[in-house]
């Protein structure tokens, strides 16, 4: 007995710069057994079996690596943890906004990583290293919760209008969340320098608290709150 099938409609951004003069939206559909569900990433893999030129990034497939961030129905999400059943059809898939497109859903993340580098996202401590390790109290460790979990998928930064207007100067919510993570770390001694590096009118202060970052974060983090925390620390230091 054959299973009843249901059809899922997609509209997918296609662009291969070596062939296409300009990007276009391609309508595709997929049949799945009625009553079953799958993630958008699963659907993309099945669509790739039908058209092997369809290009997208993916790796862990369970929301940990952050490789498969895509704009789904107008909102940046991770394909691997977004189920098809929760979306209205046709499911519109576009590359992350504002970053240069390499091909189809694959974007060039160079500028995003350059902004990440700017905040020096590693522990800095100029005191002599202890024999075993730098200890941290459970209370101080708790201050890093909500900051360290970022997987650098770029959903937040590419959803931020301030980043769209000034991607070269505004470091963006993802990098600022990381800045906040090290500013909050009791073992880091570069807090003052970190704050000074961000005090100009663009690096941090282009944030206008639009909160798209917090809205889209697939890990449920709140970069706007992290940015507000950095501002408070700056004012405490500067007044």
């Amino acid at each position: 007995m054959s299973q009843a099938m249901s059809e899922i409609k997609f509209s997918i951004y296609r662009y291969n710069p070596s062939i296409d003069a300009k990007p276009y939206m391609q309508d595709l559909s997929l049949s799945i057994e009625q009553g079953t569900d799958l993630m958008v990433l699963g659907a993309l893999k099945k669509l790739k079996e039908l058209d092997e030129t369809l290009t997208f990034r993916h790796s862990c497939g369970e929301g940990v690596c952050g490789s498969d961030a895509v704009n789904v129905n107008g909102k940046n999400r991770l394909c691997c943890i977004t189920s098809v059943s929760e979306l209205t059809q046709p499911i519109v898939l576009r590359p992350l906004p504002s970053l240069p497109v390499i091909r189809d859903l694959v974007v060039d993340m160079t500028q995003f990583y350059q902004q990440y580098e700017k905040v020096e996202p590693y522990l800095q401590n100029d005191t002599p290293a202890p024999a075993i390790e730098r200890l941290q109290s459970p209370e101080d460790r708790a201050k890093l919760d909500g900051l360290y979990e970022c997987i650098l998928c770029a959903c937040c930064t590419t959803a931020c209008p301030s980043y769209w207007w000034n991607p070269d100067k505004f470091v963006g919510p993802a990098a600022l969340l990381q800045a906040s993570r090290f500013i909050s770390d009791s073992r880091d001694t570069a807090k003052s320098k970190r704050l000074t590096d961000l005090e100009d009118a663009y690096s941090l202060y282009r944030c206008r608290s639009i909160m798209n970052c917090a809205d889209v974060c697939p890990k449920g983090l709140n970069p706007t709150q992290a940015i507000a925390h950095i501002r408070t620390e700056m004012i405490k230091e500067g007044v």
């Binding site: 100067k169 005090e199 100009d200 663009y202 202060y205 282009r206 004012i235 500067g238």
Partner: protein, 115 residues
């Protein structure tokens, strides 16, 4: 990063703080004016002049004028640097707006002390 030469403050922190301070002053001032008008239904020129004759009211109004200049300087500078990419137009608009705001301030002071 090169300093933003036509911005109001020295850096983002001071602009951010001044924008909030000026917002509070403006909110207090316009709330006061609104309440005053509501409480004085038959408001005439003599009462209005008497109100602005008080030194306290003049200082409050001067603060509100300063607040307005600072608030618009920071706000408009931000909007211009977000949306106007052409260097010549950006420079022209920034200069015109800053000069206009300074003129409004001195003109406002002249009106205020002329009452």
């Amino acid at each position: 990063m090169v300093k933003s030469v036509l911005a109001f403050g020295q850096n983002g922190v001071s602009d951010w703080l001044w924008q909030r301070i000026s917002a509070v002053i403006l909110a207090l001032y316009f709330s006061f004016i609104f309440v005053y008008i509501v409480l004085h239904p038959g408001l005439d020129y003599a009462m209005w002049q008497a109100l602005f004759h008080h030194t306290a009211m003049r200082i409050f109004t001067l603060l509100a004028l300063l607040g307005l200049v600072i608030h618009s300087w920071i706000g408009i500078w931000t909007v211009i640097t977000d949306y106007i990419k052409c260097f010549c137009l950006r420079l022209f608009l920034q200069i015109v707006i800053v000069l206009a705001l300074v003129v409004y301030l001195f003109w406002g002071i002249q009106i205020l002390w002329g009452v």
